[in-house]
Symmetry: C2
Subunit: 340 residues, 2 copies
DNA sequence: ACTGGCACTCTGTCGCCGGGAGTGCCAGGC
DNA sequence: GCCTGGCACTCCCGGCGACAGAGTGCCAGT
């Protein structure tokens, strides 16, 4: 059975009211608050159908209706129009991001901005190393047998690692290494570097090969294997908004999930270009997040994508507003990165 | 009126039982669980005195007694003996910290370890720049009028900033700058650098002074003014342990406070050497944290202190165990830093 | 196909009551 | 003088029943 326009309109009204009031919505209140042009009885019939189809449900007999995950899904896919940001919001975004001095600062400001605008938990992934290029590699001698390797990526990320050398190296040795390594790797995408690193070792004169091999292994580890993704979180206090009504009693599982970076990365780190992804309740693959929704998108300079960001909140969330905000923030951050 | 030994013993018993059971403790249960050698009636008299003195209170008439903040304070100061860590805990600490590859990793592992061992919220401050020395300064050309300044501190911290130059600079110019800057600043404590940076500008040949001045101002900003403290948080999910009984109903204010880095820094960043600080409930200067206690201490290689760490939990916490754990972790982290 | 009316069901709240835990006080004993 | 047993009192907490309110499903009528 397909749903006619009015039934969809009723669903939309239910979602909107429920999101706003946090209370099951009944037929009478619905016709009063929206101009549906029909009587409560008619709405009730429509509701019965919507419930049949699984889009809404009653917490108990003779309570109002509440959207199901499927209901929210339908709402997001077909019923919600994008809500344009207010000029005030746009100004807020610009003002907030404009003073950032380095990458850490950008991420930091972004995540707080997102949390504040959406009033939910915000997550921002640092630009992924896997999607970055090497801008420069620096070797800093710490002692005769130890150097610090500093990798600067074009996205602004800086990673450092300590390298234990097999034997002592002079300052000149280090300079030479530095030159060679940069010659070979600077400007390369990180994902392309492994064979280049190998060739570095191969081309090395035998006398120095030990040192180079040592450096190479750490390089590989830093550049690729342990291509660690970092992220930043803000707005956890927003989980307590609306009492403990959302999240079926405890936010325990949610807080636990937020501690797991792996989980968060899976959530916001799937990077289909210029597409905003919405995961609603049960659609989430993590049990702990079954009562939450996640809105995420990729960001990056221009059309390329270097990382993800998003927000997490109760399934009962303002999807149009949240989606609009997430997109807008992602675009601004991308622009900001493009300037560097 | 001074409290005799038995009254103190009663207080100790109350604190211990309450911490364990989370329920007001009555006189009868007390004599049953502890060998006090007197009758409940006697204990009741002692309790009346303890209440008079403000160390315990009754949630309502004819409920058991609960320690007040002052009661916990007395307990911590005079009644609790340090609880030595179990060998298993020591091993856990070592095993957890041993694989750390860089500073980020150390801090990350430490904070999670602390959260796990104490089952509370853990906070670890990155080694403070103000207490670090410059190991090396690197200048990486980004374009002809932009260079990236990377500062590596002896504590392992790496800070980077973008510098906009007033005019174009050649690779040689940059190399020259790099040499000069390092000559002057490497090895210096960050707090000693401002006059040195000034002298760098003064000694510069007039032709390059513009560039150097530009660099110098960013240097100053990076090194001193914006000597930003960073920190890491873990274990917020532990706040939900024990229901919402602690934290008088909502953890909202607590979560809010945890979002404010400034607050957290004040809490764990007061660095009296080798002293563990305990702030109990109302002793806390932040209203939002009135229902929590904070145990914090400094850490660093050897006897010097470069940063703070600690945990935050309900006033009803296992003080002896928590204090012991915080101290032990701080010592291990210090040792780890000393190795670099 | 929609509407008004009506009976029904369920929730949430209030007041009430009794059991239980714990206290404060008092008189008596060591 | 300190400790103890006894006793009356207070208060919380859980269960129970009544009740008002909200919302529904259904049916007959337009």
């Amino acid at each position: 059975m397909s749903l006619d326009d009015r039934k969809l309109e009723v669903l939309r009204a239910i979602v909107e009211d429920y999101v706003e009031t946090q209370e099951p919505v009944g037929s009478k209140a619905l016709v009063e608050r929206h101009q549906l042009g029909v009587s409560p009885a008619t709405v009730r019939n429509d509701m019965a159908v919507l419930e049949e189809e699984g889009y809404i449900r009653q917490p108990h007999t003779s309570a109002g209706r509440v959207p199901t995950d499927a209901g929210y899904r339908l709402f997001v896919d077909r019923l919600s129009k994008v809500k344009p940001l207010s000029p005030a919001e746009r100004r807020a975004i610009e003002r907030f991001l404009i003073g950032a001095v380095d990458l850490d600062d950008v991420v930091h400001r972004t995540v707080r901005l997102l949390a504040q605008l959406t009033r939910q938990v915000a997550v921002v992934q640092y630009p992924s190393l896997a999607r970055s290029s090497v801008r420069h590699l620096e070797l800093v001698p710490i002692s005769t047998t130890r150097i610090m390797l500093v990798m600067i990526a074009d996205t602004g990320r800086v990673e450092q690692r300590l390298v234990e050398l097999p034997g002592p190296a002079t300052a000149d040795d280090v300079m030479e290494l530095r030159r060679k390594v940069n010659e070979k790797l600077a400007g390369q995408r990180l994902s392309d570097t492994p064979p280049l690193v190998q060739s570095l070792v191969d081309e090395c004169p035998p006398g120095r090969r030990g040192t180079m091999a040592c450096l190479a292994s750490v390089l590989l580890e830093t550049l690729v294997e342990r291509s660690e993704e970092r992220l930043m979180l803000a707005g956890t206090a927003n989980l307590t908004r609306g009492g403990v009504l959302d999240f079926q009693g405890t936010l325990r599982p949610v807080l636990e999930a937020l501690e797991e970076e792996v989980i968060l990365l899976k959530l916001i780190g799937d990077l289909e270009p210029s597409k905003t992804r919405v995961r609603i309740g049960d659609e989430n693959e993590f049990d702990n997040l079954r009562s939450t929704s996640v809105v995420s998108t990729g960001y990056g300079p221009g059309a390329t994508i270097v990382g993800g960001l998003g927000v997490l909140g109760p399934t009962r969330m303002d999807y149009p507003g949240t989606i609009a905000t997430v997109r807008a923030v992602a675009r601004y951050v991308g622009d900001l990165l493009a300037q560097n």
